[in-house]
Symmetry: C2
Subunit: 628 residues, 2 copies
């Protein structure tokens, strides 16, 4: 993808999103020696890649080192600072970015911009990151570009305001804003000047700059371009902060009216330029109107010794009902695992405000009716409970899940057991989750010749997906990578997994004619940092909880398919429902969920009863399971 | 109060906190001409005053202008920026600070640092502001001082972590941190250098700076002072961010070991200095231990051509369980309306984390059992419902509340009606809330000679408290000011009022021998901005809701006292309970609250029934009121 001068390339054949940004100079010492132009160009592409990856489940920025270095290097302070501005201010850089030098390559490992670990924090954080919000407001005598958190808070406030206005016709808010103007109106000066038709050159305006008054002097050259730029920044700022007056033609410190000499501007065409610039400002409405920015332009004749010298321009902006942008916000995503796209304003606001609810929260809030912040620990426990039933983590022990499937597979395929044992051997303990096709489980297309897929969650290792082929197949690695990447992204976006994550891949071949492991294809050549491994049971449990949500959100927890292409109808005799020990409300919800989605779940409980319960008027099916 | 070189004086005889900070130069043009030392000194005292007022319910900073100016001035960019750093980043300067020039004086009107308007935002904001958190962390290769929001998030995270560690003995968190170190440990270099006993001068360390490695060179002079300062900043930063290695004696860009020449330092005394500096770092525990910062100091001999040249110092810091400060955070409050005090670390953390719950939230959460964020609009409505019953706002109409008291007072005191009418005349409509003593209602001492106090809430005017005296009394104004200030502070801190607020005061005298209004004493000479007036019904209702909470939190909603000194026993025959239309849970809670506090409430409902209800096992008294 070409972004201005930068080109970003998504690397194929990886189980992770790997964005190659080309040559970059690394290390503070070397970057300081660079020309500013070159440094900024490199920074721009690194930041763009980081933004796109943060918004797309995480990944790796790959750089070729432009400079020689005998020893490993750090990024450089300017790159660090630029990356720091992308992440939530409460986090430290290394929580999202880790670096590793690998020969001529330098990698930045980017964690997903994630939801908070606890639901109580979720309401406070936007769902995406941006390079710039393109949102300006007035704060004191300054115009500031809102950072991500400020932008998020502002959007929330404006949304609430719009909703209140709907409830309350008289728009209290604008009255309060008007009251804040009142002091200025009392002395009445900006308003008085705005009403006048002529003014003396050098006249000192009798009021200072404030949140609603800004003085600008004309630039000496490219007047129209300059005015356009000023309009683009200041008109949204005033509109987003209670309105105000922009004076063009006043020296800001001395407040002297200098105007613009009549030889240099044509007031009519300048008015048209201003009007056009304002009409192009993107506006977003939370309210039901399609109001535009309301403003008036006044051109005042500036006299010098009773002769017309030039013009003073004043733009009076009314407070805007909702949100005025200066341009589309700058935020990128990787779409469909293959192209980098810039979000438009509407997509951006929707993501920021999280108007498309994600599954993990819906899942949790359905699990319990009392999801008050005070109860969230309890809530988390429900999720934990479920996970401990489905995928119990037992330190020191190896588990093959579902056991019945594993037994069937290993008896069907000679040599499978040995092959798997060899693979898991380096790890001390963990879980292997088998499926006839993880691809189908995740809604991807299945592949002929795949005997089964197995996901390894093992202590001190990263999660690893194995695809076991009946025979050699050059496309096996791509298939495995595709599943792994999809799984990772779903774990993050649906499952709400917040840790550093990459699902590694390995393709195994079980051709009895070749030595079992001879066709082992190595996956990614990128060496991930240690923090991408599972270091403890809590981390493994978090992963398994996310996995559970991903699988529940789809067709089956573990699709078990005795006969191909009929996996929704026939079930093995060992299938059971897993709902257990949850409060009645949770059970009922789960039952509805299961019924709605035609999900069948596997457990080894001995007895299953279906109990009809009337929950708040609607008859839903709840399931009750007795302890074995 | 003396703060270093600055002196701040609380002005007496005001219904608001007014802090005089002395002479200050104002206006960007003038401030830029100042010497930096003088400018910073002025800034320091303004910021300190603003912090103290923000934390104490708001007030006014009074400055004498040090410079001449023909026209009103703005503050100046450096002052604006310093003030902006005090407020939540999501707010704009003018939301908290407004300025007004008044002759030789310049006033900054400071709104209270307030809780958010909606409960859902409350969890996300600290309860106080600070000039500095004195909390450092590592972010990438930098050490950053946390701003208020970062500090708040960090405290919350550490608290949660401490609680999780209690639940889970194995301390997953530190394992993850160790995993992040692992990469550095793998190449093993900082650890290897730390283990060694000698190193060559000029040797280039084979690893870069990172979140866990910092290189510092010795300063050329005042080595001990310099080392102390470095320790105070970097040791907490590493301890708060997963631990790390501080190298003193390495050039940071070239990574060359330069050490400190042996002539210039004594390694033993330097080790003592370091140990002492670390032992003085204030630590705060959320966990149950009293652990100190764990560290090791290593002095490594630096050789040059096989001769001892000097020393390299390495401090290895372990991750800390909770929070390490560099010094006490810098935050001030006005205590007991009369002195400015600096908070210590424990007070500061308690305020930040809001471990002392405030009334408004307790009030609301008791009002309804379902205070999930999704329901908060409903919740607000409960408060609104109550307020609309007790203090209905009727645009265009005057109301005297309680009517019975007003009738009694006006028949008792000849001329009162005329006096009051004259006072309220300039306003178009509003509410006057009478009490025989607002002082007693607010828990203050009553005053002999006061006929009654009346609080005016009127359209386009600020809230105003009238004290009506039977005869002239020089202390009347002080009495009235004291009530007004107490009321304002309670409205903000207890009532959760978030608007700009000052309760104005006016003392009236009803001596029949003098003309009714002749002894009108004007209250504050400070002219408040327009935004301190009520501009609409919503704002008045918010005020009245806060007032309701303040009064319910105390002895009576409106103490009505037919006989002095027995106001808790005898009640007028018009007294009724007001609970109405609330959900059962709210009723029960309210009933408990009323019973617990011996509160009697006034309403004009016709019938009152007490109903015993069993709420979750406890028998509580609920009240049911039929519609008139
Ligand atoms: Zn709108
Ligand atoms: Zn601790």
């Amino acid at each position: 993808m070409q972004i201005g001068d930068c080109s970003l390339v998504l690397q194929p054949s990886q189980p992770d999103l790997v964005l190659n940004v080309g040559r970059v100079t690394l290390g503070e010492e070397y970057r300081q020696k660079q020309q500013k132009f070159q440094r900024d160009k490199e920074k721009k592409k690194v930041v763009l890649a980081a933004c796109a990856l943060l918004n797309s489940g995480g990944g790796v920025i790959q750089m070729e080192m432009a400079n020689e270095a005998d020893h490993p290097l750090e990024l450089g302070l300017d790159l660090e600072q630029a990356l720091r501005e992308l992440i939530p201010s409460s986090d430290v850089l290394q929580a999202f970015f880790e670096t590793r030098q690998q020969g001529r390559f330098f990698h930045i490992f980017v964690k997903s911009w994630s939801n908070a670990a606890l639901p109580e924090d979720n309401c406070t954080k936007p769902r995406i990151c941006s390079v710039s919000s393109s949102l300006y407001r007035r704060s004191g005598t300054s115009t500031i570009c809102l950072d991500l958190r400020q932008a998020y808070d502002f959007l929330k406030t404006q949304k609430r305001k719009a909703q209140n206005t709907l409830l309350n016709e008289e728009s209290e808010h604008s009255k309060i804003l008007r009251a804040m103007h009142q002091d200025i109106m009392e002395s009445n000066s900006p308003f008085q000047v705005f009403q006048s038709n002529k003014i003396e050159y050098g006249h000192i305006l009798p009021f200072p700059e404030s949140h609603s008054v800004e003085f600008k002097q004309f630039s000496t050259q490219k007047t129209q371009e300059y005015v356009k730029r000023v309009i683009q920044e200041y008109i949204p700022a005033f509109a987003n902060t209670g309105g105000g007056y922009l004076f063009i033609g006043v020296h800001d410190k001395s407040r002297r009216v200098l105007g613009c000499a009549k030889e240099n501007i044509d007031p009519d065409s300048l008015q048209r330029v201003i009007a056009q610039a304002i009409s192009k400002l993107p506006v977003f409405h939370f309210c039901s109107t399609d109001a535009q920015v309301f403003y008036e332009i006044k051109v005042i004749d500036v006299f010098k010794n009773e002769n017309l010298y030039g013009y003073l321009i004043i733009v009076n902006v009314e407070p805007f009902c909702c949100v005025v942008f200066s341009e589309d916000p700058a935020s990128w995503m990787v779409k469909e695992q293959q192209k980098i796209v810039k979000l438009n304003m509407n997509e951006w606001v929707a993501k920021m405000m999280n108007t498309d609810p994600d599954l993990p929260e819906a899942f949790e809030s359905q699990l319990t009716l009392s999801d008050h912040p005070a109860y969230c620990r309890e809530q988390v426990n429900h999720k934990t409970q479920l996970q401990q039933h489905l995928f119990p983590v037992s330190p020191g022990r190896w588990q093959y899940i579902p056991e019945t499937l594993w037994m069937e597979l290993s008896s069907q395929h000679k040599g499978l057991e040995e092959l798997i044992h060899q693979q898991v051997h380096p790890a001390s303990w963990g879980i292997l989750i088998f499926s006839r096709s993880w691809a189908v489980d995740l809604g991807l297309e299945e592949k002929q010749g795949v005997l089964c897929d197995a996901l390894l969650i093992a202590h001190n290792r990263p999660p690893t997906l194995y695809t076991i082929l009946g025979d050699q197949d050059a496309e096996g690695q791509d298939y495995c990578n595709r599943i792994a990447l999809t799984l990772k992204q779903k774990l993050v976006t649906m499952g709400g997994y917040t840790g550093k994550l990459c699902v590694m891949t390995k393709v195994l071949c079980l051709n009895p004619n070749i030595n079992a492991v001879s066709l082992e294809m190595s996956s990614s050549q990128i060496h991930y940092p240690w923090s991408y491994n599972f270091v403890g049971t809590q981390q493994m449990e978090s992963f398994l909880q996310a996995l559970m949500i991903v699988l529940l959100g789809f067709r089956s927890l573990l699709r078990y398919q005795p006969e191909k292409n009929s996996y929704l109808s026939n079930f093995h005799h060992h299938s059971h429902l897993f709902v257990h020990d949850l409060p009645v409300s949770g059970k009922a919800t789960m039952a509805m969920k299961i019924r709605d989605r035609n999900i069948r779940l596997y457990m080894e409980a001995e007895e299953v009863e279906n109990v009809c319960e009337d929950v708040s008027g609607k008859t839903t099916m709840a399931m009750k399971i007795r302890e074995r």
